[in-house]
Amino acid sequence: MNSFIEVQDVEMVFATKKGRFHALREIDLAVCKGEFVTLIGHSGCGKSTLLNLIAGLTLPTSGVLLCDNREIAAPGPERGVVFQNHSLLPWLTCFENVHLAVERVFGGRESKAQLKARTQAALELVNMGHATAKRPNEISGGMKQRVGIARALAMEPKVLLLDEPFGALDALTRAHLQDELLKIVARTESTVVMVTHDVDEAVLLSDRIVMMTNGPAATIGEILRVDLPRPRNRVELAEDNHYTHFRKAVLDFLYTRHGHVEILAA
């Protein structure tokens, strides 16, 4: 097994105004090349924290994170991030937002025309080729998220890190974008780590689902391998026994064994 991302015995403690907050403990995880892994858990379980650690936006208190056998010390272009709230720069057009990423990664090697072609191709990959000149406030939430994905993909990352990318979208748009993400990932053979709180999304998209226990001091409770054949079709899967079995397994973990403890924590 050639693991591409390795998380070894990671602890994360935040120093807050109220004192130390132990967010993550004893996290061990290996993600293979081309694998689609989702992190699921109740809110506050540290799944976004884990993603930020892999992205290199925060550094662990102890333990090691490796990407392609190199230690993750800072964010890098080999790890593309799609943020929860799209985080497009409102003063740039869709094209410029994506171009900013392209320019940084390929600017030294390629001509201006090539950079523009790359940007255009990335936007077309997410079906946003028609809206390149628009600013983020002129397009819908789903479209913004697509441009966010295009920006991450345009860097040709080895890993795509998605932090609840469809959380703020309505159910229909979300389903549509999930299908597109599946197609894009199949085409680009990306390695994906995605944070979600949506059980159906996790089962539909993942090769493995990493289920996390409740915080504080959350850790990986269980890892579920979803060996449904690809390409997956959500309509057909709705009646599939294996699918419902996986779905039940996640629900069982989240609600029966690790019911939300926010009331206790508060």
């Binding site: 992205a55 936006l57 800072a74 964010p75 890098g76 272009p77 790890r79 593309g80 991030v81 943020f83 709230n85 985080s87 720069l89 409102p90 003063w91 740039l92 900013l100 990423a101 940084r104 600013r135 983020p136 406030n137 920006r151 860097m155």
Partner: protein, 302 residues
């Protein structure tokens, strides 16, 4: 600032009025068919709304002039509106004459004042905006500067005039210095606040995309801070224009403030009234220009 308040109150009043007429229309339509043309007119030019926007300000002006006229009727010391208007026509018919250093047309006076404001204000922007960036970006600098700013900001700008006179040993640089010192605070503070309020998400984008410091500044910090900066600039130019009149009264030379003081010494009250109006109009124009610029550079963060 005054203009903004003025407009918004007008807008709410006219929209209230429209709401009321809209509510009244269905009732009228039920009673008689003649109400239909009122509805048909609505999509075209909104004459009523337009009239409501224009008539009240004109009425307000007329009222002021009327009160002025009544109070000065038969007065020998305070000029009447008519006499002032006639004098204004005379003053503005030849705004750029020159009869020696202390007797120049109103156009020159305004231009000289504007020049001083522009120089002082430009210097303040050149120093204040980068300083604001530094304060916003680095906590050490912020901790160093904030007690000084809190201490110096409430000082009346004219208190700085003697320092300017002492250091520069000339009236004109001293006036510019006063403008500089009074218009720098809003720019420093607003820029610093703007930098501190750049959303963390945007800075995370910068880190993930691994942008160079230059790109971070030009593509993220500058556009994000620009609306705050322009608010600072707008506040400063208002203060600068307030202060220049007072500073020129003290320093002399050619300028609208000096003109007011000179005409007071000549007991030419008509000219003082004209100057007050001119100062108001120029201040308003500066403010409007900056609001227009700010609107051009603002973005909707949705």
């Amino acid at each position: 600032m005054v203009s903004a308040v003025f407009h918004s109150s007008l807008d709410t009043r006219s929209s209230e009025f429209r709401a009321r007429t809209a509510a009244a229309v269905p009732k009228a339509a039920a009673l008689q068919e003649a109400a239909a043309p009122v509805l048909a007119d609505a999509p075209g030019v909104d004459w009523r709304g337009l009239a409501l926007k224009i008539v009240p300000p004109v009425l307000g002006m007329a009222l002021l002039v009327a009160i002025w006229g009544v109070l000065t009727r038969g007065s020998t010391t305070f000029p009447t509106p008519g006499a002032t208007f006639a004098e204004a026509v005379k003053v503005f018919s030849d705004p750029f004459y020159r009869n020696g250093p202390n007797d120049q047309g109103i156009g020159w006076n305004i231009l000289f004042s504007l020049e001083r404001v522009a120089v002082g204000f430009g210097l303040a922007a050149a120093v204040g905006i980068p300083l604001g960036f530094a304060i916003g970006r680095f906590e050490v600098i912020s901790n160093m500067a904030s007690p000084l700013i809190s201490l110096l900001k409430p000082v009346s700008p004219l208190a700085w005039l003697p320092i300017g006179l002492l250091v520069f040993k000339a009236a004109n640089p001293a006036a510019i210095w006063t403008i500089f010192i009074c218009s720098i605070w809003p720019m420093i503070i607003n820029t610093a606040v703007g930098v501190q309020r750049v959303p963390v998400d945007y800075l995370n984008v910068a880190r993930v995309l691994n942008l160079s410091e230059w790109k971070v500044i030009t593509r993220i910090l500058l556009p994000a801070v620009l609306p705050y900066m322009l608010t600072g600039v707008r506040l400063s130019i208002g203060t600068a224009w307030l202060v220049i009149v007072a500073a020129e009264m003290l320093t002399g030379g050619v300028g609208i403030g000096f003109w007011v003081w000179d005409e007071w010494n000549n007991l030419n009250v008509k000219h003082i009234l004209i100057a007050i109006l001119v100062i108001g109009v120029v201040g308003l124009a500066l403010e409007w220009a900056l609001i227009a610029i700010a609107r051009r550079f603002s973005y909707d963060d949705v």
